[in-house]
Amino acid sequence: MSDEYISTDVLVIGGGLAGCFAAIKAAELGAQVVIFDKAHIRRSGNGGTGLHRIPLIHPDYNLTSREFARLNVQGAAGICDEDVSYEFAQDTLDRVLDLESYGVPMRREDGSFIVKPAQDIAPGQIAIWGPGPTVWHDVKPILARKAQEAGAKILNRTAGIGLLTEGGKLGGRVIGAVGLGTRTGEFIVCAAKAVVLTTGGSYRVGRHKNSLYAPTRFIECGCPTNSGDGQYMAYRAGADIVNLEFLELSPSWKDLPHWGCGPIGVVGQEILGTGEPVSASHEEASKFDRYIKTYTFGLDSEVLFNDASVVPGYPEEKGEMLELLWAEENEATSYAYLLWQKERGEDFTKGPIEFEWHPPYLHNNQAGIHMNTQAGSSLRGLYCAGDVIGGGWRQSSGGAFVFGARAGQSAAEYALQTSPIPINHHQVDAEKERLLQATDVTPSQGYSWIELEDKARQIVSEYGGPLTSNAKLRRGLMHLERIKTRYLPFLYARNTRELLRVSEVHSTFWIAEAHLRAALFRQESRFPYVSLLYKRGCPVEDDENWLKHSVIRNIDWQMTIGTKEVKRLE
């Protein structure tokens, strides 16, 4: 099949919350914009079926951007760039007002916002909630329409599979990308003066306990189409990837690994089956105790519940908070949660809800492509935003809006003052061949994407974070290398759909390796709020030596690892 060639000023890969904002802002500056969306832009990504709240800084809460940034750094256990947190705080309210101007209802009838603490996001965080008994189910359709009206050309069912660089060189300026039509099998080669990566995190990293049980294979905390493709593409182009040792962990509904948006973390306190609280206070819970105690107890020796009858830190909020949460959960962003709740008769307004830890994934904005305050990566012509980024901290949807907008602006400004660079056809062919070799393998000779994905995720869960040791990590790397060498080359794809999954499995293997290597590299335990790394036998938070980003770089196609200083405000 012949390839389609297109060109544009700005190519946005991933049409989720961040990608839509990037496209809108770039188009408003007069840039031509193309969006690749692996799914369909109306309902793609983590915001696909709605949002229940957006983290922001609000004047009513008397928290300055500087104070917010300091809290953010604390939540991240020091491993984030304070300037990014500061800039996030500066812009959040403006982006919420943008959303309002696009048609997303934001206020109560009296014109006020509903702003409440959202401590599950990070200590000190506050968030704006939907103005009524519903969550914002239609944020994505509204943003998608706005992007289209702004002039962006949307290519649905088109997955980005590889970035193109000047001269095809590693570390060169990014000048476009190759996409795969996920229903057509056609390759789309897009030459672009600047590229924005907004492909999200990855929820296919750790292995869920139900993973061998077919119908639950894709029931992940976040959208399973997000498989770390952006991080892997950026790595292959030569960008800096930071902090992959810190995967995010989610305490969520027992047996249903959908995000526990709602009572858990926001208002609840973890208690054991005996009724004994895990931690004395939310403040204490934000550290080591919460994870070590609940993680091991949850797995091994005790049932875990979340008790929402305590509202640590803000008892005066309890009434309205519970009302809001209850409304939210009745109209959850996760449809499955409603069925779960009905089946089990769980009701957090009446008693503790049973929960458990679900497997680690990539979502915390700490681990990912190293992003600066202008949403730039370490490569010329490459911008990023949303869950694909690293070096920041827990920005959630607010970060997707703030840095999505900045990525679009920065990319457009860059694109409008530079000339296009001819693409390197060898690089295009190499990207295609990397996938197409799976079409030459027959099922009797090879392995399905399902088997290989399951194996990579098994290795991460058995040997990687959050609870691990140097010996365990070395062993995990040995197994991963064995599987990668002996079996990964024999992935087969019988059709276009399987070709997409093969591409995703490549990303999963890369994340597995990057995670194990980064975790082995860091010779300490460290406990960010939602993404601890506990290494048996290593010192705890050795700031003198390890208050740094770990950084993974592709140097001559070898995965090399080093450190980068964390940025602090003056």
């Binding site: 369909h40 109306r42 309902r43 696909g48 189910h137 119908p215 294979r217 249903l256 449809y335 069925l339």
Partner: protein, 82 residues
Amino acid sequence: MLRELASTDLEIRYRGGIIIDDELCIGCKKCYEVCPPDVFEFDEETKCPILAFPDECWYCGACIFECPVEGALRMELPLACL
């Protein structure tokens, strides 16, 4: 009796996924268009979607939000999650 049992379809069917009511479905294709993990196929003859890849359903409900006919699509959680 045993012989009779042995002759029936031996494929194990897991419960769970999106249940499509062909009687109510108007064939608008919206579920097929938007599904993030792309689990539907569309049967042009019957003008109804088919849940072709139930194992890859995220259970997000995007199809149900988009469906213009109340009750044409219904979600059933796998037993492992219930």
